[in-house]
């Protein structure tokens, strides 16, 4: 009976019930359930948020041993240790740490993205640049709020409204903040239809919103093929630090457009992307361990993130108004807010607001230009910040 007592006692000791040393673990479990609610019921970017929330749940259940933050906080990760005594989420996290997952997600994004509307109207690129304003506003705010430079830069990139870019930058500059930054980035992307419209209506006049735009010219196949190659050469030359992101985005796009690699494009968009999405989600979620996540910093990040999204929207809209003025009213400034990326949600918001002002207005394709340009814009801003703080 001695043995039985020992076993029962040992089971209890080794169980997570005894392991809950810290009420913050319970708070984290509740937070992850709330994120699951947002993902599932409110449809907040569910493909990633469900995985992130579940990873967060698993990592905060005591004793689960699925993820060991101590392995990853070293200056030089000891991969030998990871392989020997890592948990499942440690193994999956290797793909985050090495930057493989964000790159492969971008491969799929490239294969899914039609840059046609942007090629058709290259001025879109300027709107895609202007809508990165929030990144720099957030950078300043984060410094003001006391974050060190590298962390501030990682937080700021939330304003790029681009999940993989944010994850890529954060895992280099401030990996210990990966959880809250990724969650803020994906949550606000899902909230675009709530965040943007009030700002759009505040900054534009009814008359501006009613502007109908000319139909876009059609883009030849040749242009669509040359584009990803040229962008790769040019952007990687200027900003080598974002070569993996831009390279993969453009390779995916080339697979899509070249017409002879459809099966690769299909796999990049589907099987490969889904697999990486599952792995990325749970392993990013795993970094949100209670001891780090539950801090004032997380609340600040959530706050700065909203600020960043708003100012990116403002940047795009103001530049849209400028272009409207310069083009003598041919450009509807509402397409500016689509420059934040968050493809294709932001473009849809432009479409909806435009149609509210003028039911015969059809801005979607015009907004897709700045929208996809915003992806490139965020990557460029990321490259700049990686240079400064990397």
């Amino acid at each position: 009976m001695h043995m039985i007592r020992d076993i029962i006692f040992g089971l209890w000791e080794s169980s997570g019930l005894a392991g809950i040393a810290d009420p913050r673990q319970i708070i984290m479990i509740l937070i992850s359930c709330f994120l699951l609610y947002l993902g599932i019921k409110k449809k907040f970017e569910p493909l990633l948020l469900v995985g992130i929330a579940f990873g967060m749940l698993l990592t905060n259940l005591p004793m689960s041993g699925l993820y060991h933050p101590e392995f990853w906080s070293l200056a030089e990760v000891n991969y030998s240790d990871v392989f020997h005594s890592g948990g499942l989420l440690d193994f999956l996290y290797i793909g985050v740490k090495t930057g493989i997952y964000p790159s492969l997600i971008f491969l799929g994004v490239g294969a899914m993205t039609d840059f046609g509307p942007m090629l058709s109207n290259p001025k879109s690129l300027l709107l895609g640049a202007a809508a990165q304003l929030g990144i720099y506003c957030a950078l300043i705010l984060a410094i003001v709020l006391g974050f060190p430079g590298n962390v501030a830069a990682a937080i700021a990139i939330i304003g790029g409204a681009d999940g993989p870019t944010a994850i890529y930058v954060t895992k280099i500059l401030a990996p210990e903040y990966l959880g809250p930054i990724a969650i803020a980035a994906y949550s606000y992307m899902a909230l675009i239809p709530l965040i943007q419209p009030p700002i759009m209506r505040a900054l534009t006049t009814q008359k501006e919103r009613e502007i109908k735009m000319d139909q876009l010219r059609e883009v030849s196949k040749l242009e669509k093929i040359i584009f990803p190659i040229a962008v790769t050469i040019f952007t990687v030359l200027i900003l080598p630090s974002v070569a993996p992101l831009i390279g993969c985005l453009m390779l995916g796009n080339l697979f899509r457009e070249c017409g002879v690699t459809d099966r690769l494009s299909d796999t990049a968009q589907n099987a490969l992307m889904n697999i990486v999405t599952i792995f990325l989600g749970v392993s990013v979620g795993a970094t949100a361990i209670y001891s780090r996540f539950l801090s004032l910093d997380t609340i600040k990040i959530i706050f700065i993130g909203l600020f960043a999204f708003s100012f990116s929207t403002v940047g795009g809209l103001l530049f849209g108004k400028l272009m409207c003025r310069l083009s003598k009213g041919k450009i509807n400034p509402l397409i500016g807010s689509a420059g934040v990326s968050a493809v294709p949600m932001a473009a849809r918001v432009s479409q909806i607001e435009g149609q509210k002002a003028n039911p015969s207005n059809f801005l979607l394709m015009h907004a897709m230009g700045p929208n996809v340009a915003g992806v490139i814009g965020s990557a460029v801003a990321a490259g700049f910040l990686l240079y400064i703080y990397g």
């Binding site: 046609g116 640049a129 460029v380």
Partner: protein, 105 residues
């Protein structure tokens, strides 16, 4: 890495947004060159029709794409395109058809 002060960060941010503008403006010029070059090079080439995948996406729910109907030999033998939307996991109860061509035996 240096820690910048708040004022330096503001300067840096101005520099940063300018950098983004410059890079994307150059890309804009690039695209104009590409467009010009591709018009010269592939002059006769007619503009690409929207990619097939876009079409499929656009027509996704239960419609049948732009199928055209030609040479239907018998009116009684009406033609119906059925999209088996098993991949889309959408109910199969919406059906739109535009045209179907029957190739010769």
């Amino acid at each position: 890495m240096v820690e910048y002060s708040i004022w330096e960060t503001i300067l840096l941010s101005v520099l940063g947004i300018i950098a983004v503008f410059i890079v994307l403006a150059v890309l804009m010029l690039f695209i104009k060159v590409i467009t010009f070059v591709s018009r010269v090079a592939g002059g006769k080439e007619k503009p690409a029709t929207p990619a097939a995948s876009d079409k499929l996406a656009a027509y996704a729910k239960g419609s049948c794409g732009d199928v055209k109907l030609h040479n239907v030999p018998d009116k009684d033998a009406a033609m119906i395109m059925a999209i088996v939307a098993d991949k889309l996991k959408t109910p199969l109860n919406e059906l739109r058809f535009i045209s179907i061509k029957m190739i010769g035996e």
